[in-house]
Structures are given as structure tokens and as C-alpha cells.
């Protein structure tokens, strides 16, 4: 097990572009504004409430040590990475954040003992330092789609490729709720080029690594690595209900109406060859190739050439004479290759992977890592997410602080924090309370029974 838990440093943090030192921030970010942000706007109390899961209350079943066993990690101004920080109270957490002004706050698991004191336990045999609870997390990153988007590459993202993230949210969110039965799910914009997902149900937090890996694998359809041809392999005569639902409710429609025209998937030879490569039948591919090669312009200019060619391809593969099941499956495989969510598996599989806290500011873009409403994820536009400097402009425009009103309420951050509370935090805390109550009653009953014996 230990070997599985080796790495905490995140792979993608690296590809995240080079840290260029303090001179190279975007106009929307600077350390002084960040300090003001932590002082005036950052929702410390909400973060504390969330991470306490009801254990900060007065109920006799509260685990007072719970929050204090959670790992926080800070990435500081000078690129110093401080791991295994822990706090016992809201004010400790808040003061430390305000004082250290981290460029990034990562949240780790809840350990068996206070992570800051882990060395004290290293020798003793009976209390091992090990993660005991951790939200089930997902990380989806647009850079993992570079082979299929032609608009941007690397960390860039635009409105032509962002919908790939939207589709990922829809597919994963539906499965988490309908299949796995989870209810307390938070989606967060990573601030630049992807999304994070936190599944916070008690059941999810207590999954062991094997169960996490099983869920991650349930979502896996990519079989090939960099050295095999097919990236997707859908076997069997029909799709598993989860894949079938994802295909018919989300992926197919998105591919045909949005991705095809936006990414111009068939517009030139290089692009369509990439798709033809996925068809294992020489006669089909050469027929299509012939059609497209000689006839560069579609006869009907009104019709998008990408859509026309896709229809032709589908017709060739699904027409009567191509009865072979493998070929029919090809249409689905192509759609999956281009649209199915590409999860960073390692992040989800292990309890001790760190993930950036919501409401952090991305130092490259200055944008706030705001929650995304999965129900309205189509409307989310990463290019209009408020930046640090915008927030302070809003604050300045709004005049003086009014008593009784939080400062963030006078900025566009207000909407995000209100959403976080009403859609995520309040229902979560309510169910934490209920669970605490019922487990307490059960324990009481057990205790009473044994007394009467």
C-alpha cells in the first residue's frame, strides 16, 4: 500500500507552465492584491465549516480532533512548498493564510494523527500516521485533450474547446449521482485550464484506495497509451449502461452539433486521416478518402463540410453491407475518442493526493477558482470568471464598507459564495448533522442495552 502512496506532488502542476519568478505575473495578479484578497474576500469560514463536516458543533458525537488532522499545504511566494500544515480552529487557519499569503492552498486528507506531529508517531507502532478520510476527487485538464483540439494547445483555453470540460462535468456528475448514489458534489474551475471535482458524502470520504481506483476505472475507456494506435476500445456487442447513457444523452449530440463544426474535424487531409486511422477496414477508408480527396469543396456551401463528411463516414460504416459489428462500433469509438472525459487517474485513486482549494487565485491568470454549477455548466464561461484585479475594482467602485454586509457581497464573488453555500455547504452540513445524530442514537441504544444486561 505504501508504495501506492508515494507521490503527492501533482503531475499537472508541472505542465502548468513555468513559474517565471515574480516579474511575470499577469496584470490580474500580484502578491499585494492577494494579501488584500485573503484579508477581505476569501471565505475562510466557509472553508473551515466545510472541512469540519459538522465536527465543530456542540453535539456529543463531534470529533473535536477532526479538523486538526487535515493536511493543508501552502505554495508560498518564493516557490517554497510547505506540506503537512494543520490547524485546530478557524482563527488559526485564517491567521496563517493571511500571514503567509500562499499563492496556492492545497487540501490533503484527514490523517490518523495531526499531520504536523507526524514525526512523533513515526517510531511508535500502535499509532500509525496514515490517511483515514479523503474526499473522492477528480481532476480534468484541457491539456490532456491536445491531440483533438485544433484551436489551442497547452494551457490555453477558449470557448471552442472549453465545452470539452462541460461534457466531462455532465458525464461524471451524472454517474456519480445516479450510479454511485453520491449527493454532495462540488465542481470547481481550476483557475486556468480545467476543473476539479470534490465528492464529499461520508461514504465517499471513507473509501479506501482500492475502491477509489475501482471508481476511476469505471470511468476509464482509454485503453491505449502513447504507443498503441487506438486510444479507445469499446468491446462487447453492446455498451455498458453507463457508457450507453453517456453516449446517447451527452457525447453523440455534443460531437455532432458542437465539436465537429467548432474544431473542424474533417476540414483537411491531416485531420480526417486521423479519424480514418481508427477504422480498421481498408475498403471503407479508401472509399471515403477517394470521395474527400477529389471533392475538396462540398457542393452545397450551406452545409458544413465537417458535418457532411461525418454523415458520409457514418453511412459507410453503418450501411447494410458493413454488417461487421466491429465497424458499427467504430462510430461510437470515434465519438468517444473525441469527447469522453479524460480523467487524471492518479489523482482519484489515492487518498493522499493534494488538490487545490476552491476560491484560490490562479497566479497565471489571476482568476478565482470558483464553483461551477453542474446543472448550468453549459453557461459557465472561463473567460469571464472574475480576476483578482477586477474584484478590487468592483470593491473600490462600491464605496465604503457597509456594516453587516460581507465585503465579498459587493463583488462578483458574491454570487459564487452564495452558490457554494446554498447548493453545496448547507445540504452537506445538514446531512452531516443527521448522520451524527443517527450514529449517536445507535451508540446510545447499544450502551443502554449493555447496561440493562
Amino acid at each position: 500500500m505504501a508504495r501506492e502512496e508515494v507521490e503527492n506532488a501533482r503531475d499537472d502542476m508541472i505542465i502548468d507552465g513555468q513559474m517565471k519568478g515574480n516579474g511575470a505575473f499577469s496584470n490580474d495578479f500580484n502578491p499585494n492584491l492577494l494579501k488584500l484578497y485573503y484579508g477581505k474576500l476569501f471565505p475562510h469560514a466557509d472553508l473551515f465549516k466545510w472541512m469540519s463536516y459538522g465536527n465543530d458543533g456542540k453535539h456529543p458525537a463531534c470529533d473535536k480532533s477532526y479538523f486538526g488532522r487535515r493536511e493543508f499545504s501552502f505554495t508560498l511566494d518564493n516557490d517554497i512548498y510547505v506540506r503537512f500544515q494543520s490547524f485546530y480552529t478557524l482563527s488559526e487557519l485564517e491567521n496563517s493564510i493571511k500571514d503567509k499569503c500562499p499563492f496556492k492552498i492545497d487540501i490533503g486528507p484527514v490523517y490518523s494523527v495531526d499531520p504536523a506531529k507526524r514525526h512523533a508517531y513515526a517510531q511508535s507502532n500502535d499509532k500509525v500516521f496514515t490517511p483515514v478520510e479523503r474526499e473522492l476527487v477528480f481532476d480534468i485538464d484541457i491539456t490532456d485533450y491536445d491531440d483533438i483540439r485544433y484551436c489551442c494547445s497547452g494551457a490555453d483555453v477558449c470557448l471552442d474547446c472549453w465545452p470539452l470540460m462541460t461534457v466531462a462535468i455532465k458525464v461524471v456528475d451524472t454517474a456519480l449521482r445516479d450510479d454511485f448514489g453520491f449527493n454532495h458534489i462540488l465542481w470547481v474551475y481550476s483557475g486556468r485550464r480545467g476543473v476539479h471535482c470534490w465528492v464529499c458524502d461520508a461514504k465517499a470520504r471513507r473509501l479506501n484506495n482500492e475502491q477509489r481506483a475501482a471508481i476511476a476505472d469505471y470511468f476509464r475507456v482509454y485503453q491505449g497509451n502513447e504507443n498503441s494506435n487506438k486510444k479507445i476500445s469499446l468491446s462487447g456487442p453492446v455498451l455498458h449502461p453507463f457508457l450507453a447513457r453517456s453516449y446517447s444523452e451527452v457525447l453523440r449530440d455534443f460531437f455532432e452539433t458542437k465539436l465537429l463544426p467548432c474544431q473542424q474535424l474533417f476540414s483537411d487531409e491531416e485531420r480526417y486521416e486521423k479519424i480514418l486511422e481508427m477504422i480498421p477496414d481498408e475498403s471503407v477508408t479508401s472509399e471515403l478518402r477517394g470521395k474527400w480527396h477529389s471533392n475538396k469543396r462540398s457542393s452545397n456551401l450551406k452545409e458544413d463540410i465537417n458535418c457532411v463528411r461525418w454523415e458520409q463516414l457514418k453511412h459507410s460504416l453503418q450501411s447494410g453491407k458493413q454488417k461487421a459489428q466491429g465497424l458499427r462500433r467504430c462510430v461510437e469509438e470515434i465519438v468517444f475518442s473525441f469527447t469522453y472525459p479524460r480523467l487524471d487517474m492518479e489523482v482519484s485513486k489515492h487518498m493522499n493526493h493534494l488538490l487545490k482549494a476552491p476560491f484560490c487565485i490562479h497566479p497565471k491568470t489571476g482568476r478565482v477558482c470558483v464553483p461551477i454549477d453542474p446543472i448550468h455548466c453549459d453557461e459557465f464561461d472561463p473567460t469571464t470568471v472574475p480576476t483578482l484585479s477586477e474584484l478590487f475594482e468592483e470593491l473600490n467602485r462600491g464605496g465604503h464598507k457597509i456594516d453587516g454586509i460581507d465585503e465579498w457581497d459587493r463583488t462578483s464573488l458574491g454570487e459564487s459564495i452564495r452558490f457554494f453555500r446554498s447548493s453545496f455547504l448547507q445540504p452537506l452540513l445538514k446531512s452531516c448533522k443527521e448522520e451524527m445524530e443517527s450514529s449517536y442514537t445507535a451508540k446510545q441504544r447499544l450502551a443502554n442495552n449493555s447496561l440493562s444486561w
Binding site: E5, V6, I14
Partner: protein, 451 residues
């Protein structure tokens, strides 16, 4: 004794039907020499299971293999002793294999595999009794519920190429966490947190529970071993356990013994001459891209550690590559930790061991990954090209491809070894570091080694 004896046994495979759960240690008297002999017999079974799995044998093949192995090794002239031999040998091996994380992991997988195949051969009523014993009180879904999900169950069955479920079939409804391997393979319908497990899949439920109980038990055994048993039994059991350990466990290659050090300046040359394909590929990709994803860094990093690259050199080596892509500050911040971790200088301070072929073969590289076993994970053209670059050609390539098609990946690697070194290699490749060590031996003997 915590075991199950059932009167109604099929007569044909007598010694296969009484399947104990090993919940408590044997309390009866055993002759000391039996301790060792029984354990060795069981170890033969477990080792052969391990080999079978790493060669990618199909479930039907494994079923037969396990059955034959058990027959051959675990019989006893006295019918009444058969069950005792089973239980004693299991508990002796627990002592042998409880002592490190890696040993526990291996023992756990092999014992679970053994249990799984034995369970599948049990009669329905025995299976039911075992489920109850393992505290898996699941009831079959009722007809009304079955009807409401029948279509979905049918869809899953067809996706697996199996026949459609009918109303008489027993389907268990269990929390999905109880059947991780069925979830991982999308082999069950999952709805609102429940997995619908068909009768022929129950083995997965049972094996998962068996393994989790054994896993906990091994930790306890380890504690007892260090705190009392080792000392109390120092004249009796301890020497046997320790002897079993040294004579029957392969080396774990966590430290390179014969070629204690390898220096950075030699590394490119040694990579060319003595790295197995999986490591050579990672090595070349790292040189080319100045980056490897997590799986690749672990597989290559631990291998290099086993080869004898010390921590300082490892840091220099990885930094030289990664800093060209991500800058050296970023390297120090994000990556140095995990390299020190591999060398046991961070985190749990466990000294991590290099991956075996079995682990590498069973890994699942995804988009952007270069780790895994090339014989298993490369497309045919890519593998051919890679073999060609290694200097394997002509009929040797076809021989390798033949093994690959039959999913004998380690044999394919062995043939590659033979082709490159121009000598036979009867022991076969089980570990990349073994490949390296033996390759170096041959190179040295030939007199043009540089390491």
C-alpha cells in the same frame, strides 16, 4: 477451530472441497518438520499461481492450473490430515510473509487467488455457508425489483458477451464498495450506490472480503511476530521461518548487490546495452521529452535505484532532464520530494522496491503514459519498431511476436534478451533488474563492459 466441514461433498475432488477461512490459528499439535514441509508445499502452489497470473493466463486456464497444483502439492496420505495441512501451511506462511509491505502484498494476492478458484469449485450450499461465515448477509433481489432493472442487467450481460438474465436468476444487491473489481471492469449494473451482482460473480464479493480480513490479520501477525513470537519461538519456529524466507523468496532487487554503483556518465551506454525494453523506452522518452508522467517516473526511478544509482545521482539525473522542460525551481518543488521518497527519505521512510514484471504487466498506462510492459501495451508496429531499434531482427522478431500473441509477455522479453546477448537464458525474465544484472554479467564476461 474456525472452519467449515460439510458432509455433502462431491466424491471426485475430496481434498478440494473443505475450504477453511483461516479465521483463527490452529490449536492442535503439529510435528515441527511438518511445519516446514507443509509450508514449502503451499509455497509451490502460490509461486505457480503467481507465474500463471504474470503470464496472463485466462480464468479457465487458471482454474485448471490451481486445481492441478493443489492436487499435486497439498495431498496427504491421511485423509484427516488434508485440512490440517491446509491450515498449518497457511499460518506458517503468514509468519514468513507478514514482515514487510511487499511480502504481505504478494502473499495477499496469491492467497486470495487461491481462495477464489477453490471457492468457485464449491457447491452452491457450501458457497452460501461461506458467505454467511464471511458476514455477507445479502439477499437476492425480489421479483418486482428484478423486473424493474431487467433491461439494464441484460445490457450489462450482453456487454460482457454473456447470456441474458431470467426471472429465476439470483441477483444480489450489494453496496458497490464491496465489489471493487466488478465496478472497475464495469461488469455490474450500478444504481444509486448499489451493484447488482449475478450469481456467477459472487466469488468477487467473497474474495474481496476474504482478502480484507487476511490483510488485517497479516498486520496483526506482523505486530505479534515483532513483539513476541520471534523471541518466544527463537529455538523452534523462528529458525524455520527465517530459513523459509531466505531460501524461497526471490531477491527483491531493492539494492544492487553486484554492481554496487553506477555513475551518471555511464548511464546512457548501460541503458543501450543492458536495460530491458520497458526501461529503455522510458529512458529514451525521458531524454527526448524531458518529462515523464507519474507512472513512468515510478517505474524507471525505482529501477534505476535498483541498478545502483544513488540518491544524489538520481536527483542530478532527473533534474537535468526535467529542468529543461519545467525549470529547476519547479523541479525542486514538485519532483525532488517524490524521488527522495522513493529512496525512503521522505514520508513513511519505507525503502521502495523496484517493480517486478508482474506489476509492470498489470499496470494500465493511459494517454500520455510510457510506462507498462511494451510487449503487452505497444501496438504491433510500435513493438516491431522498438525491437528493431534494440537490434533484434529476422526470425527472432517473429518468435517474440508469437509469444506476445499468446500473451506470454515475459517469455517475449526472455527471447529478446537471448537475441540481443546471443546466448540462452533459461531462467526467464521475472524482473527488470534481474534482466539488467544478468545482462551486465554477460557483457562483463564478453569483456566489453563499461559499468
Amino acid at each position: 477451530m474456525d472452519r467449515l466441514r460439510l458432509q455433502s461433498k462431491p466424491p471426485s475432488n475430496d481434498d478440494f472441497t473443505t475450504l477453511p477461512l483461516y479465521r483463527s490459528a490452529p490449536s492442535f499439535e503439529v510435528r515441527l518438520e511438518d511445519f516446514e514441509l507443509y509450508a514449502i508445499d503451499r509455497l509451490r502452489v502460490l509461486k505457480a499461481i503467481s507465474d500463471g497470473l504474470s503470464r496472463g493466463k485466462k480464468p479457465e486456464e487458471m482454474d485448471k492450473l490451481v486445481f492441478d497444483l493443489w492436487k499435486a502439492n497439498m495431498r496427504h496420505p491421511l485423509a484427516s490430515e488434508v485440512i490440517n495441512k491446509d491450515i498449518i501451511s497457511h499460518f506458517v506462511l503468514r509468519l514468513v510473509y507478514c514482515r514487510t509491505e511487499d511480502l504481505r502484498k504478494w502473499f495477499l494476492s496469491m492467497e486470495t487467488a487461491l481462495f477464489r478458484y477453490r471457492f468457485q469449485r464449491e457447491a452452491a450450499e457450501v458457497q452460501k455457508a461461506l458467505m454467511a461465515e464471511l458476514d455477507l448477509p445479502y439477499k437476492a433481489v425480489r421479483t418486482a425489483e428484478f423486473e424493474s432493472i431487467k433491461d439494464k442487467l441484460g445490457q450489462v450481460a450482453r456487454s460482457l458477451g454473456q447470456s441474458l438474465p431470467t426471472a429465476g436468476d439470483i441477483i444480489y444487491k450489494v453496496p458497490f464498495e464491496e465489489v471493487p473489481e466488478l465496478v472497475a471492469g464495469r461488469r455490474v449494473f450500478i444504481h444509486k450506490g448499489h451493484a447488482y451482482v449475478a450469481k456467477n460473480q459472487v466469488v468477487s464479493l467473497v474474495a474481496t472480503r476474504f482478502r480484507s480480513l487476511l490483510s488485517k490479520a497479516l498486520i496483526l501477525t506482523n505486530r505479534k511476530w515483532t513483539s513476541t513470537i520471534r523471541e518466544d519461538e527463537k529455538d523452534r519456529l523462528t529458525p524455520i521461518v527465517e530459513a523459509l524466507c531466505t531460501s524461497y523468496l526471490g531477491p527483491d532487487y531493492s539494492q544492487s548487490k553486484e554492481f554496487a554503483e553506477i555513475s551518471i556518465k555511464d548511464i546512457d551506454q548501460v541503458a543501450k546495452s543492458s536495460f530491458p525494453l520497458c526501461m529503455r523506452h522510458l529512458f529514451e522518452k525521458l531524454r527526448e521529452d524531458h518529462h515523464l508522467k507519474h507512472g513512468g517516473r515510478m517505474q524507471l526511478g525505482l529501477f534505476l535505484k535498483g541498478v545502483g544509482l544513488n540518491l544524489d545521482d538520481a536527483l542530478t539525473f532527473w533534474k537535468a532532464e526535467f529542468s529543461r522542460k519545467v525549470g529547476s525551481e519547479r523541479f525542486d518543488k514538485e519532483y525532488a520530494y517524490s524521488i527522495r521518497h522513493n529512496y525512503g527519505r521522505e514520508g513513511k521512510r519505507t525503502d521502495y522496491t523496484p517493480y517486478s514484471c508482474q506489476k509492470i504487466i498489470s499496470s494500465t498506462p493511459g494517454v500520455g503514459d510510457h510506462h507498462g510492459c511494451p510487449y503487452r501495451h505497444f501496438s504491433e508496429e510500435n513493438l516491431r519498431a522498438a525491437l528493431f531499434r534494440m537490434g533484434v531482427n529476422g526470425s527472432a522478431v517473429e518468435d517474440v511476436m508469437e509469444k506476445v500473441r499468446n500473451r506470454h509477455y515475459q517469455l517475449a522479453c526472455t527471447l529478446t534478451f537471448e537475441a540481443i546477448h546471443g546466448s540462452t537464458y533459461d531462467v526467464g525474465v521475472n524482473h527488470p533488474n534481474q534482466y539488467f544484472t544478468d545482462s551486465q554479467k554477460i557483457q562483463k564476461a564478453k569483456g566489453h563492459s563499461s559499468a
